[in-house]
Symmetry: C2
Subunit: 172 residues, 2 copies
Amino acid sequence: MLNKRTLIIYTGNGKGKTTAAIGSAVRMAGHNGRVLMMQFVKCEKNTGEFKYLKGGGDIDLITCGCGFIFKDKNLDKHKKAAKKGMQILLEKLEDTFYNLVILDEIFYIVNYKLIGSGELLNILHKFDKVDFILTGRDAPAEFVKLADIVTEMKEVKHPYKNGIPAKKGIEY
Amino acid sequence: MLNKRTLIIYTGNGKGKTTAAIGSAVRMAGHNGRVLMMQFVKCEKNTGEFKYLKGGGDIDLITCGCGFIFKDKNLDKHKKAAKKGMQILLEKLEDTFYNLVILDEIFYIVNYKLIGSGELLNILHKFDKVDFILTGRDAPAEFVKLADIVTEMKEVKHPYKNGIPAKKGIEY
């Protein structure tokens, strides 16, 4: 198992999943590892992580979503964005050796059936020398089974509950 | 509450607390916020976060621990390191306006009684315009009560349980 790649899942309803993924990107890049981070729901490029990490050389950060899905009845544009994201992911993985690939909010798009879970499992099996971090609520059982490390970020307290809007530098 | 600072706690026994704190530092710095991150247990400077963030300008990263405490019977050197850390923290807070201050593994040293929880509470009350992130297992109730956002990083699966050593770029 020592020479095996590590597959990490950050799931649960609490704050910290994407944030931990950003931290992991930094950690790996600090050791000169090559990192690909794909954000599957976000489309904005005005996030703190985007502004900061774009300056660094060893982290490829790509946003390939078009906003939160639950607000829309028509899923077509989200499906299209997800499919395009998966295509970019495959091309990147075939082109470049990454030490760490982060698929942020990937369970969101799997659970909305914008991509099939089999499609994602195939990629994880095919690129089995690459460390992966998968994030999103409600990680499906087949991914939890495959993973080496699974942390549930459990919400104990959160101001959203009291109608407080997201804060710059903290939430994005 | 909108103009109030945000106090965040990452606690629990799972992986992701320090990693999320690193991610938060990046996010805040990306928006040109000034960040102080103090690591209270770690002493090593060969971590990925140290190597990566030391390059950036807006994040002050200071390690002020001397390794894991549970390995030692004599707590003197740890107590000394913790006290020195608190002194540096106070000086920094009085000198500079930080948008975000991260006290990594601070609950570890509070729970080992290397510093009093009252001392830390006083700092949080005194510098009440500064966002704080506190990390560590077993967050004491008085801090959870004061916090705006609390996430419990709950271990679902972790290879340490099977005797697998920490992996560079993933665990540090």
